[in-house]
């Protein structure tokens, strides 16, 4: 699996907010690679730099030093315009809430990145419907966001994050505004999309949701202090049963 090319690579990433007395090191030398089919959860206490990491990975913020490589493209060198194009084509974002544009239906929301990219409205809609259908959300296509539950909105947002050729989802506390069960359904969907080949980075402070990831990265004071490795089998339980 790791033989594949990573979808997202962060190399020696640092980010300093402010300067002088108010200088804050949000990130210190982060190295991370996310492969296709992998869901990586980033955990850490408040202020550990989780969200900054995600915004930099998606090109919404620029690192002070280091490189961000998305699908072979070094986005730290890209212009604002190129970054926008990259977000249209390669990176999907899911935020905590209000992810959808209230003026657009679910299908139109999903079709938005494609339309912004210049695809014809009809073609974009076909792609959007396909994406929604794949995630079992076809029945929501013509609903407006205020006619959907929070969980439905988040799932539509995931559909949008992965419409077209995009295969990198950056999710910032996507379950933060949801109850436990609904949040789980959102994560189950994210998990299944990653199993189907997408790469995902999930920022959360809830271990329960982080546990859905293949790999959990622990962040403290802007640095990765630890991470779980991907287990090869259901070692824990099978071991226990065998022992018994």
């Amino acid at each position: 699996m790791s033989a594949q090319q990573p979808v997202l690579q962060l190399q020696n990433l640092t980010r300093v907010h402010g300067a002088g007395a108010t200088e804050v090191h949000a990130l210190r030398g982060i190295d991370l690679a996310v492969y296709p089919g992998e869901l990586v959860a980033v955990m850490g206490p408040s202020g550990s730099g989780k969200s900054t990491l995600l915004t930099i990975a998606g090109g919404l913020d620029t690192p002070t030093s280091g490189r961000v490589i998305v699908e072979d493209t070094d986005i730290t060198a890209a212009s604002v315009k190129e970054l926008a194009a990259l977000r249209r084509r390669s990176i999907g974002y899911v935020f905590q809430d209000y992810n959808l544009i209230p003026a657009l239906t679910a299908a139109e929301n999903v079709a938005l990145p494609r339309e912004l990219d210049g695809t014809s409205a009809r073609k974009a809609r076909v792609e959007a419907l396909k994406a929604l259908e794949e995630m079992g959300l076809g029945h929501l296509a013509d609903r407006f966001p205020d006619e959907m539950s929070g969980g439905q909105q988040q799932r539509v947002a995931i559909a949008r994050a992965l419409v077209g050729d995009r295969r990198l989802v950056l999710a910032d506390e996507p379950t933060g505004a949801l109850d436990s069960e609904t949040g789980e359904s959102v994560l189950a969907l994210l998990r299944s999309r990653c199993d189907a080949g997408a790469a995902g980075v999930l920022v959360t402070h809830e271990p329960r949701f982080a546990a859905w990831a293949d790999r959990v990265v622990f962040l403290r004071d802007g640095a990765i202090v630890d991470q779980t490795v991907r287990s090869e089998a259901d070692s824990l339980l099978s071991g226990q049963v065998a022992e018994a």
Partner: protein, 228 residues
């Protein structure tokens, strides 16, 4: 959770023999509370002594069948209706370990906590994977649905318990760090160890994992054993 009540609950569905009870119990609880046949029969005889079950014939293969009595049903009702007693928590090795680590000169408490946390989260990941499978099974329906749901509930209980532990670790960490920072205030700054620990923890992680897993396995059983 008590084996006694668990067996009563199984027997309420109909007469069963000893090893059958053990298999069903494990499948219901997802092998997280392994039983040996001896335990089953000891418990059954105690229940019989208390008049809650009665021996009732044999099946075709010659196994002695046990059936639940009326007083057994009453006991079962009472048990379901009564909250689980939380007044005497089980002693936890982890709590003791952390308490000892505070102020121990040769130990970085952060490392202790982090390695425990990695282990805990890893366990949660495993549970979650199993849960995902169970979810698929439940949603696809089928003959074993009832058992799958039970299995799912057990898994989720484990997940939430583990999560509680993870959260407790988070809390401990910030609390202990603050305390040790105040303690070490006269000496070096509190910030100093932070960057240094990061790489070390990472290296250590793979090596520690199996050992921790073992401990997790043994840690999980005491509640079962101590239920009665």
């Amino acid at each position: 959770m008590s084996i006694r009540h668990g067996l009563l609950a199984l027997l309420e569905r109909g007469p069963r023999y000893g090893s059958q009870l053990r298999t069903e119990f494990e499948s219901r609880t997802g092998s997280t509370w392994p039983l040996n046949v001896g335990q089953v029969y000891t418990t059954l005889s105690r229940l019989e002594r208390d008049g809650m079950v009665a021996q009732g014939g044999e099946d075709a293969a010659g196994h002695a069948l046990y059936a639940i009595t009326d007083s057994g049903r009453t006991e079962l009702r009472t048990w379901f209706g009564k909250p689980v007693d939380r007044t005497s928590p089980a002693r936890d090795e982890l709590a003791i370990k952390l308490a000892m680590a505070v102020g121990a000169p040769s130990v970085d408490i952060r490392d202790v906590i982090q390695s425990q946390r990695r282990h805990t989260v890893k366990a949660m990941q495993d549970y979650t994977r199993l849960k995902a499978q169970a979810l698929v099974a439940v949603e696809s329906g089928g003959a074993r649905e009832r058992d799958d749901v039970a299995w799912l509930l057990v898994l989720e209980q484990l997940i939430f318990q583990t999560e509680a532990e993870a959260r407790w670790l988070d809390h401990c960490e910030s609390r202990l760090i603050r305390l040790s920072a105040t303690a070490a205030n006269s000496g070096s700054g509190a910030d100093a160890p932070a960057p240094a620990t990061a790489p070390r923890a990472e290296e250590a992680a793979p090596a520690e994992a199996p050992k921790a897993a073992d401990r997790q396995g043994t840690d999980a059983s005491p509640p079962v054993a101590g239920a009665r």
